[in-house]
Structures are given as structure tokens and as C-alpha cells.
């Protein structure tokens, strides 16, 4: 299966590297309409959400991306990716607005407040994993169809809604591929049901 990493800016290479370790996955950089149309699944990486959103608008990729996601293409957003998928953002307007979550940006503060937590991530992984938070967002509220996967100190940091998976943290910055494997399983199931 063909999995794209949105190649505007941010941790693109790191996601590609993780995908390449999973059997039967062809990992590609995706930044043109042609790239995006050919994918079975898409990862929106970490980076600066304002910068990525700006380029998505400038190169008219917003409608195509929304259409593909609403059409059922599985998508996984890490950090900036979560912000881009969110229906609403505290203090500013949403970007792709496809997922029924409201997020707070830079919710933990400046880089000095970035941190690593270690905890299990059921149903993704039962053993504790290092979770890397870099100027991270979290989910402040969500609709009924959103499944909360992980909370840290009462803040939602991982969630799923139908074909959409989001995490505030960056599994691509660790050596672990569990979250990527979980996402690939989502893509596999989506392919089977179509």
C-alpha cells in the first residue's frame, strides 16, 4: 500500500523512515495534487501548523485534502497534523476542519516546557512508550463520535474518529513504530471494507 507523508515542512523524513520499516508499505513524499490522489493513507507530520496551512492554501491543496479525507482515506496527524485536522482551534480559525475536535495550540508553553512522558497507549500498545511533546497542542473538547485514546493529567493527547487518528506527541522522533503500525492497520481495514 502507498502511504504519503505531507511534504510541506517539518518531520517528513522521520515519518518516511518509520513507514519504511513496516512490511508492504511504500512510503512517499506527497505535495502535489497528483501525489495526494494516488495514496491509500496520509500522514500529516509535525512542524509549524501556520506555515503548513499557509502553503496548503497557497497551492490550493485544501479542498482536495478535505475531499479525500471525507471520502474515507485514512489520515494520521502528529502535533501540527492534529491542529490542521481539527474542526476548531482556540483563538484562531480552523484549517482542514474535518475532525470533530477543538484544540489548543502551544498548550504547554514555550520550548522550555517541552517534555517526554512514558506511558502505555492502549489500544495501540500495552507497554509504556516514550511520548515526545514539542510545543505541543492538546484537545480541549470533542464530539460524540471521537474516541479518546490517551490522556495525560486530564488532557487529551491522542484520539480517533472513523478514518482519522491524531496525537499531540511525535512517535516519529522515537525509535518505536507502534503508532505507525496501528495506523497502517487502519489503512488495511479501510482497504478491505472498500
Amino acid at each position: 500500500m502507498r502511504i504519503g507523508v505531507l511534504d510541506i515542512q517539518g518531520s517528513v523524513e522521520e515519518h518516511i523512515h518509520h513507514l519504511q520499516q513496516i512490511p508492504d508499505v511504500e512510503a512517499v513524499r506527497a505535495k502535489t495534487p497528483a501525489d495526494l490522489s494516488s495514496l491509500d493513507g496520509l500522514i500529516i507530520p509535525g512542524g509549524e501548523s501556520t506555515a503548513i496551512a499557509k502553503m496548503l492554501h497557497a497551492f490550493k491543496l485544501v479542498d482536495l485534502l478535505k475531499e479525500r479525507i471525507q471520502d474515507g482515506m485514512p489520515v494520521y496527524g502528529t502535533c501540527a497534523g492534529m491542529i490542521l485536522l481539527a474542526d476548531s482551534i482556540e483563538g484562531e480559525s480552523g484549517h482542514l476542519g474535518v475532525m470533530d475536535i477543538r484544540v489548543k495550540r502551544n498548550a504547554y508553553g514555550s520550548q522550555m516546557d517541552s517534555f517526554i512522558a512514558e506511558l502505555p497507549l492502549p489500544p495501540i500498545c500495552d507497554r509504556a512508550l516514550p511520548l515526545v511533546f514539542i510545543r505541543a497542542p492538546y484537545i480541549v473538547s470533542h464530539g460524540d463520535s471521537v474516541q479518546v485514546l490517551t490522556m495525560i493529567e486530564h488532557k487529551i493527547v491522542a484520539a480517533k474518529q472513523d478514518n482519522m487518528l491524531v496525537t499531540s506527541f511525535h512517535p516519529e522522533l522515537t525509535e518505536h513504530t507502534d503508532v505507525h503500525r496501528y495506523f497502517i492497520q487502519m489503512v488495511r481495514e479501510s482497504k478491505q471494507s472498500h
Binding site: 505535495k31 509549524e48 520550548q111
Partner: protein, 290 residues
């Protein structure tokens, strides 16, 4: 400390493929963010003005940095003088996101750089070659930028430094393990980092280009040479139409391998900053740093 260093290298990874812009006011910071900058560098005067006005260039007024932190949501970086431990402590105290220990400001210490491992806040430092980059990383820098020659609008030095780093890496890649110690001695770099680069084929931290980038094509050129992103200093706010030029440079960095897009964004940008040739300058900033 180790975990903090990893987090600091991680933030630089999030900036890859992006443009970091010099700003001197909150208003400029907003323009930069709106144009798609991944971070801003808050400073008192852009390098072209430091060059023109002369005098001692120092860390900015903390009040100005705080006003920029309030104005934008992207990371805010700020410069300190080489070796000025106290300016760095001040920026750490006001929770800047990144410190640039920069040769563009007047050095506070002509022998030593800051021991950056003693800080929680991340540092980016300039380098002209692999040895200099690895000395800074050895001191705890979590990001490197080529020095180029700031405030000139002339990309020639940034190209020279980027090519030199690439050449140095290629050269140690082909060395036997016995040769690496002599190479480390020769370039004045910590041996374990020389070994690591020889094995991995790239710097252990993110490397941006800086110093003299003035046009979208300049920025795309630096990306073609293999850097991870670019800093643009005087190039934006010393040009005729900063907003348009800032956006064009961001687009050119994202689509650096598509000359048609670089052509399109280069149209009608108005006057670029006035460029200076290397033999016309009386102070080479890149020579500062040891």
C-alpha cells in the same frame, strides 16, 4: 540533561523545510508569521543596519522580545553575543524558544563560546566548516547554521560554507578508522562527533543556511545544496515589498526542486535589498567565532 538535549534537537527537526525570519518589531513578526515563517529571530537591528551604523551590537531589549512572544504563536528565537553567558541566562529566564549565539553581534569573549550544555534552552550556532560545526555541537548546540555573511544580501559566503561542510563530510566518510583521529585533530573537532559523522554521513543536528540570502532563488539554491531550511535576515525587511518577498521565499523553500514555481514566485517582487560585494565590506562577521 540528555533528555532536554534530545527535545532541543527535536524542535529544530520541526523547523525543517521552513524559513526563519529576522524581525525587529512585533508588527514585523506578525507579517513573518502570516507569510509562513516557521520561527522568527527577534533582534534590535537587522544585520544590514548593524553593518551600516557600526557600534557594539548586543542582545535585544527583553521587553521587545516579550512583545514578539505575545504577537506570534511560532517559536521566537533571539541572539546573544558569542560567550555572553549572562545574556543567554536572561533569554532563558524569559523563556525564549531558541538562542542564536551569533557572530552578527559583537563578541563578548574572544576566546570561548558559551558552554551550552549548562542550559535547558536550546542554542543554534554558526559554522563555516565541519570542524567549527562539531566544536559548537560539542559545546551543546542543538542546531547549526552556515554563517554566510550577514547583512550583505550576497549569497556567496553561505554557498561557500555549505559546500565546505558537505565536502568535509564526504572526505571523512571515505577515511579508515585510523585516519579519523588525525582528521579530528586537523579540524579541531571532538573525536566522538567526527566518528559519528563519518558513520552516519550527516551532521548530528539540523543544519540551516544563513547569511546573505535575499531572493527566492537564493533560498532554493541553499536547499538544493542540502541544507534543512533557511534563515533570512536583512533580505526581507530591507526589501521594497517585505510581505510579498517573505511569502515568495517560503514558497521557494517548500518547492525548491520545482524551478517553475520558483520562477512564478520570483515575479514582480520589487527591489531586493541592496547587495554588497565581499571586497567592499570592512568587517567580516563570519571570522568571529573560535
Amino acid at each position: 540533561m540528555n533528555q532536554r538535549y534530545e527535545l532541543n534537537k527535536n524542535l529544530a527537526q520541526m523547523l525543517k523545510g521552513g524559513v526563519i525570519m529576522d524581525v525587529v518589531t512585533a508588527e514585523q513578526a506578525r507579517i513573518a508569521e502570516e507569510a509562513g515563517a516557521v520561527a522568527v529571530m527577534a533582534l534590535e537591528r537587522v544585520p544590514a543596519d548593524i553593518r551600516k551604523d557600526g557600534g557594539v551590537a548586543r542582545m535585544s531589549d527583553p521587553k521587545m522580545i516579550k512583545s514578539i512572544q505575545e504577537a506570534v504563536s511560532i517559536p521566537v528565537m533571539a541572539k546573544v553575543r558569542i560567550g555572553h553567558i549572562m545574556e543567554a541566562k536572561v533569554l532563558e529566564a524569559i523563556k525564549a524558544d531558541y538562542i542564536d549565539e551569533s557572530e552578527v553581534l559583537t563578541p563578548a569573549d574572544e576566546e570561548y563560546h558559551i558552554d551550552k550544555r549548562a542550559f535547558a534552552i536550546p542554542f543554534v550556532c554558526g559554522a563555516r566548516n565541519l570542524g567549527e560545526a562539531l566544536r559548537r555541537i560539542g559545546e551543546g548546540a542543538s542546531m547549526i547554521r552556515t554563517k554566510g555573511e550577514a547583512g550583505t544580501g550576497n549569497v556567496v559566503e553561505a554557498v561557500r560554507h555549505m559546500r565546505q561542510i558537505n565536502k568535509d563530510i564526504r572526505s571523512i566518510r571515505t577515511m579508515d578508522s585510523e585516519e579519523l583521529m588525525s582528521a579530528a585533530k586537523e579540524m579541531g573537532a571532538p573525536f566522538h562527533l567526527v566518528e559519528q559523522v563519518a558513520k552516519e554521513g550527516h551532521l548530528p543536528v539540523v543544519n540551516f543556511a544563513a547569511g546573505g540570502i535575499a531572493t527566492p532563488a537564493d533560498a532554493a539554491l541553499m536547499m538544493q545544496l542540502g541544507c534543512d531550511g533557511v534563515f533570512v535576515g536583512s533580505g526581507i525587511f530591507k526589501s521594497a515589498n517585505p510581505k510579498k518577498r517573505a511569502e515568495a521565499i517560503v514558497k521557494a523553500v517548500t518547492y525548491f526542486n520545482d524551478p517553475l514555481i520558483v520562477a512564478e514566485v520570483s515575479e514582480d517582487l520589487g527591489e531586493p535589498m541592496v547587495g554588497i560585494n565581499m571586497d567592499e565590506i570592512n568587517q567580516v562577521y563570519a571570522a568571529r567565532g573560535w
